[in-house]
């Protein structure tokens, strides 16, 4: 594995074409080093060999079947030094030659032998000569990047007690690896944990729900903080200049019933730091600021998704921004230096849970679920978007987001918490929205104003992440098995390819020896994936599997 051969880059750096103000660079090039592309979470590749004129010539260059098809393939591959790292739902890790797909090593993690395992995995982190794996049974594992040999392994929690699992990709930051967990739909208190990358020693832990004596605990009623939720189940971002780690926090628990946790006071936030974005000092894990998007979350609106870090002009002033979408159907634009609210805009048509939003981000006329009687609410707990990630192109300046037009009848129900057991506090039934059948779309937005530039409509749910490239292409996949490319400027579909299984993963782009590759996981699965069968009975036929398909232009056909 030598660096020099990778330096034969085909990249035309697009930043040169942009205003000088775009000093910040979240693009990937020959490699795909982090879950969100770079630590800024743009999911944007500056490669442009594949572009709007030649995309129709894309063909598979190689295919890798993991042989572990349980629950589909949700992973984001990582590519570094010519090697592609991939993890399956049941925590099996593969290192492949990124040009040929040839197996370099395979780390076989023990598959679950007990009932109740949450086998989903969205990716690895790689750094400091190690590959970092979070497992379905709450271990963090550090593997030797060259050999796949286990170097360290540490229990983040006990799955039998917490009912939680690590499903999100860890984030490698400087000399540490940071990881969250699921658990917030159960009786569980959320946290984020950082380990020393070299030794596995605990570096810090941040609880998303403060303990008595800590600021914010007063926003919880009685002992409700002990099982308050706030799971950190997706992957955060990092701004090296500010030395801040940003992470979205999940819903408060119980999800739909707040009677046991709501103090009746709203002024300084409700049930902190749930349904929020938190900014933590990367070295100490100490909280620097928080912004609670959904105070008193009673819809499972769950602010766990990606934090996209971009620098953009707001009303004539250049700002360091953080754009964050949660399940509520809204995007939130924050100043990432101090967490100040900049704006919010809807990503879906159907968002009836409020009647309006004030200039400082307060939602008015909230429609909350009530006990033992259905209330029609859009979006439902599956979200106006699932965890599948957005992409941001600095060339077009657009944020590309999936959106789900789905509603639910929500019923709240008081529930006694039992540690590690489900603590939803109610139920829901999927309903079509008022404006037509349930459906989804992929849209291009101005990330500051929310102005919709174009929309690509789809009859089922789009649950795969988005990839944007400097070839002015936007890639994603659908549950029927099609991997497709849209024109990033117009949304026009330019190409699609039937991959044989549904898409619930995250595609990436990289280059080896001057050839651009576009890799997509295939294999339907996941909790939200299965839930779609309640909306579309034919969703039971969407195909599972666990295969990585890597596309490129035929050699000599540039």
């Amino acid at each position: 594995m030598t660096k020099p051969r990778l330096l034969r880059s085909l990249v035309i750096f697009p930043l040169a074409m942009l205003p000088a103000a775009f000093a910040q660079d979240g693009a990937t090039r020959n490699e795909w080093p982090s879950y969100g592309g770079t630590q800024l979470a743009w999911r944007y590749s500056a490669l442009d060999q594949v572009n709007t004129t030649n995309v129709t010539k894309l063909a598979p260059a190689w295919i890798f079947q993991t042989g572990d098809p349980d629950n589909g393939l949700q992973s984001t591959p990582i590519v570094l030094d010519g090697v592609l790292y991939l993890v399956t739902a049941r925590s099996q890790v593969f290192a492949l030659d990124a040009a040929s797909g040839k197996l370099i090593w395979n780390y076989k993690y023990a598959v679950p032998r007990t009932p109740g395992a949450n086998t989903q995995n969205r990716g690895l982190a790689v750094g400091a000569g190690k590959v970092f794996l979070g497992t379905y049974d709450d271990y963090m594992v550090g593997l030797d990047q060259k050999t796949g040999r286990e170097m360290w392994k540490v229990a983040v929690d006990d799955q039998r007690q917490c009912g939680c699992a690590i499903t999100g990709a860890p984030l490698f930051v400087k000399d540490k690896v940071i990881v969250g967990s699921t658990g917030g739909d159960g009786a569980f208190r959320g946290y984020l944990t950082a380990f020393d990358a070299k030794t596995g020693h605990l570096a810090w832990r941040f609880y998303t729900v403060p303990a008595p004596g800590e600021k914010g605990n007063e926003t919880w009623r009685g002992d409700s903080w002990k099982f308050g939720g706030g799971a950190t189940w997706m992957t955060g971002s990092f701004d090296p200049a500010l030395n801040l780690v940003y992470w979205g926090t999940g819903n408060a628990a119980s999800d739909l019933y707040a009677g046991d946790r709501y103090t009746g006071k709203d002024a300084d936030g409700v049930d902190l730091y749930t349904a929020s974005v938190v900014a933590l000092d990367a070295d100490t894990g100490k909280i620097r600021w928080h912004y609670q998007e959904i105070p008193k979350d009673v819809w499972d609106y769950d602010s766990s998704y990606e934090c996209v870090l971009i620098d953009r002009e707001v009303r004539g002033v250049m700002r360091k921004l953080l754009v964050h979408i949660n399940k509520s159907g809204y995007a939130f634009v924050l100043d990432r230096t101090d967490g100040k609210f900049v704006g919010t805009w809807p990503i879906v048509e159907n968002h009836n849970w409020n009647t309006g939003v004030t200039e400082d981000g307060k939602f008015l006329g909230r429609v909350e679920p009530v006990e033992d009687k259905p209330t029609f609410i859009c979006p439902g707990p599956d979200g106006g978007k699932s965890w599948n990630q957005t992409a941001y192109s600095p060339r077009t300046g657009f944020l590309y987001s999936p959106g789900l037009e789905m509603c639910t009848d929500l019923v709240a129900r008081e529930q006694e918490p039992a540690e590690g057991r489900g603590f939803i506090g109610g139920t829901w039934t999927h309903r079509d929205p008022k404006d037509g059948p349930a459906r989804s779309h992929l849209d291009a937005f101005d990330p500051v104003t929310g102005k919709k530039i174009w929309t690509y409509q789809y009859k089922y749910a789009l649950l795969a992440s988005i990839l944007a490239t400097a070839g002015d292409l936007v890639f994603s996949g659908d549950p029927e098995g099609y991997f497709f490319a849209l024109d990033a400027k117009t949304g026009k579909k330019l190409w699609s390819y039937q991959t044989g299984a549904g898409h619930r993963g995250s595609s990436i782009s990289y280059a080896i020896g001057g050839r651009q590759y576009i890799a997509t996981p295939t294999g339907w699965g996941s909790i939200a994936g299965r839930a779609m069968a309640a909306v579309w009975p034919e969703a039971e036929t969407f195909r599972g599997g666990s295969t990585l398909i890597v596309f490129a232009l035929p050699e000599g056909a540039k």
Binding site: G116, W152, Q161, A534
Partner: protein, 272 residues
Amino acid sequence: MSPIRPSPTRKGGGPLTIATLILATWAIASAQGRAGGGGADMAAQGEKVYNQTCATGYCHGVKGASGGAPRLASRGFDAAYITQVVRAGIQGTGMPAFGTTLSRGDLTAVVAYVGSLNGIAPTAALIPDRGMPRRQLPPEAAKGRALFYEAIRGFARCSVCHQVDGTGIAVADPIGKVPENVAALRAIASPHVVNATAEGSTFPALVLSKGAITVKLYDLTTKPPVLRTFAAAEVKIGGASNWSHNSAMAAYNDGELESVLAFLKVAGGGEK
């Protein structure tokens, strides 16, 4: 299996016994149902349990219509299959075992309800809910059990290194002899914790295996302990470390440790 909800196997009734019992009680209930009345009660009770336990959108959905877990309605399931899965869960999937967490009456009712979603006639009189055979711990031991696993203590809780009743991380060997009192607990010696030297630092270690090629050990520098694997040539194992079990218990005071000991005595020194 949570220590708060001990397995009925500890009382001697094996899982098979419970399954058989549910089937038997259901069969009796069905017979009674056919003889007249009560089936609706059973179904209503089952639906209530189902709505609280199984119906969330992340699981099977209201009326088994499907959610994050598969559809249960109209699947052609039979009573034996439903009973087996509800009781024991499905290995390697998200379906947990409810045989130890639901009361016998609730279990029977929910099995009957899922049966009704599969065209199996609703069954009869509600089985009186006598509850699960739970091990009743004396108050002191119950307090100790809660302290032993207490999540709000984070990595300072006992179960970060000790597994008892199947919960906790088995870093240490199963607890054998339980110390008589807190003084004895505090005085526990740990001669098997040694100084290991690797990558330029020396740290307290619990060696798991020392092969010709690799050495596996728990690095006790921080909590939680880290299972580290070194090439044999990269690590030097020295003499006894000055690491003490007493320092690992710093988050507990004497009164709390007394309760923990009371629990461990009842727990019988942990599961071997």
